[in-house]
């Protein structure tokens, strides 16, 4: 006989509306379930009402944090269907912004991890350093978060030498800070105590559940869309796919921190090798896309992002489908919480939950929760039953 604890939809550990249903016996989790229908908006249907160009701005707002990945994927897909290719300089610039967004996302995540394990000073330090990346984003694209940088046919703004210099010096400074955080995660006893051997996902399990991104890479799967299915100029810019075999939350933290360093190197390399030339091919604001279908994949900060587009020759998409990385990883999350062979304690749930870097707003557009007909108490019910 277990007790159900609802975590969410409004809960201090995570600002996003998600309901984690945990069945516990004592301190131990015996069953878990996720309900993320609270942020379902119906974007896939709405895209069918927008023109291809308007759709880009809606796709960007599927998720604020991975907006660059979404817009890159969308523009690649539409350019493929149109038979247009962005100029090489634009592709390099897209890569720079994509990697900046990855640095931002991973640092945000590191701050949230520190917050989840109660390490407030690390949270504050990481968030202070994250602002530098946001400043660069603002100068480069015009907005701190929702960039609107990619357009069909190229990018909006060019980078000038002064800005390039600022990008370099800021990233150089950031590299030192991130190395410091890496050391801290490696050595600090309080971080290790909360993350080592928490949220185990073995390699075979990760493969079976189709885990993607840092979750898969921390379980030893060398899978990165940037290396396996190169888009933009990823086949020209060298980088290492970071993998670890620890299969736990600590490993996921390390993979992300290492990826920040890799991203910094990639941006530096891109700035060194960026060719001059145009940044944009002009595409009229309302255009028709020839009939056909296509898929595009990019490596978002959270893992593989997949878009499918079908056009019937009109100026609006016939069908647009998105599969976000968190949806692929939620199966792994539920498995990690439910696993019977290892004790999972309630106190570890936030860390396990956080370790997949959940992005519910991405997912809820498509996610289906599974509910097994048992009555679930909500916060108010719990308060009431205590009162009686």
């Amino acid at each position: 006989m277990g007790v159900y604890i609802p975590v969410g939809p409004q809960h201090p550990i995570h600002p996003e509306a998600i309901l984690l249903k945990l069945k516990v016996e004592g301190e131990q989790v015996v069953d878990a379930d996720v309900d993320s229908s609270f942020v379902h908006r119906g974007i896939e249907k709405a895209l069918e009402h927008k023109t291809w160009l308007q759709g880009l701005y809606l796709v960007e707002r599927v998720c604020g944090i991975c907006n660059v990945a979404h817009s890159t994927c969308y523009t690649l897909n539409v350019e493929n269907l149109l038979g247009v290719e962005a100029p090489t300089r634009a592709q390099y610039l897209r890569l720079v912004v994509e990697e900046l967004a990855r640095i931002h996302s991973h640092m945000l995540w590191l701050g949230l991890l520190a917050h989840l394990i109660g390490f407030q000073s690390l949270f504050m330090l990481v968030f202070r350093d994250r602002e530098k990346v946001l400043d660069l984003m603002e100068e480069l694209t015009g907005n701190r978060i929702t960039t609107a940088y990619n357009v069909v046919g190229g990018v909006r703004r060019d980078i000038d030498p002064a800005l390039e210099h600022r990008v370099r010096s800021t990233l150089e400074e950031l590299r030192g800070r991130v190395k410091r955080y890496r050391k801290l995660i490696e050595e600090d006893p309080s971080v290790r105590a909360r993350t080592v051997n928490v949220g185990i996902l073995e390699r075979s399990e990760a493969e079976e559940l189709h885990a993607v991104g840092p979750v898969a890479r921390a379980s030893g799967i060398k899978y990165d869309v940037r290396a396996d299915d190169p888009y933009l100029v990823h086949d020209e810019v060298p980088f290492n796919v970071v993998t670890l075999e620890t299969c736990d939350a600590w490993g996921r933290a390390m993979v992300r921190v290492e990826e920040v360093l890799e991203s910094i190197d990639m941006i530096m390399y891109s700035l060194d090798h960026i060719p001059s030339g145009p940044i944009r091919k002009r595409v009229p604001p309302v255009f028709k896309v020839p009939p056909g279908e296509g898929i595009a994949r990019v490596e978002a900060p959270r893992g593989e992002l997949f878009h499918y587009a079908k056009s019937d020759g009109s100026e609006r998409p016939y069908r647009y489908r998105m599969r976000t990385p968190t949806l692929a990883n939620l199966a792994a999350l539920v498995y990690m919480l439910r696993r019977g062979d290892r004790a999972v304690y309630v106190a570890d749930v936030p860390v396990i939950f956080g370790s997949i870097d959940p992005c519910i707003c991405c997912t809820a557009r498509v996610f289906v929760l599974d509910e097994r007909g048992s009555r679930v108490l909500n916060l108010e019910d719990l308060g009431r039953s205590r009162g009686r």
Binding site: A17, V39, G42, G64, I65, M124, F127
Partner: protein, 153 residues
């Protein structure tokens, strides 16, 4: 008596505890509100504390167009807050639905569900705008508007 009311309003305006709730936003406004709490902007200078429970909060910061599923939960959270309570719609989609205007599962803005005291448009809002919203709210409370029961109950 009047002096006492003014004193109470003065105190209230200097310790606004906020509750952040995402009602279907894209996360961008959420992280900007969190950024407002981070060292660079530090809204705690104004006595603002981010709270985890509606029962401790005076101000409800709502990000995101309200989805159908979250509407009833939002009303429940609102009812749990003690009087006087204030609602701030953060971000364009909380103000009016914004770019989600053709989505079948959203209401067009928070004010279809709750009375709103301050609108902060922006996509996403900058942390400065969050601070601006707090200071606007402070001025309003100090002047004694929206006293007692929240606007529209």
């Amino acid at each position: 008596m009047k002096l006492l009311t003014r004193l109470v309003n003065w105190g209230r305006s200097r310790s606004l505890w906020v509750l952040l709730i995402n009602t279907g936003a894209c996360n961008a406004c959420d992280i900007e509100v969190i950024a407002a709490l981070s060292p660079r902007y530090d809204v705690e200078r104004f006595g603002v504390l981010l709270k985890g429970s509606p029962r401790h909060a005076d101000v409800l910061l709502i990000t995101g167009a309200v989805t159908r599923q979250v509407r009833d939960r939002l009303l429940r959270i609102y009812r749990q807050m003690p009087e006087p309570k204030y609602v701030v719609a953060v971000g364009t989609c909380a103000v009016s639905g914004g770019v989600y205007d053709r989505c079948y599962n959203v209401y067009k803005g928070v004010d279809e569900v709750l009375p709103v005291h301050a609108y902060v448009p922006g996509c996403p809002v900058k942390p400065e705008a969050v601070i601006e919203a707090i200071s606007v709210l402070r001025r309003v409370i100090e002047r004694g508007e929206f006293n007692g029961r929240g606007k529209g109950g």
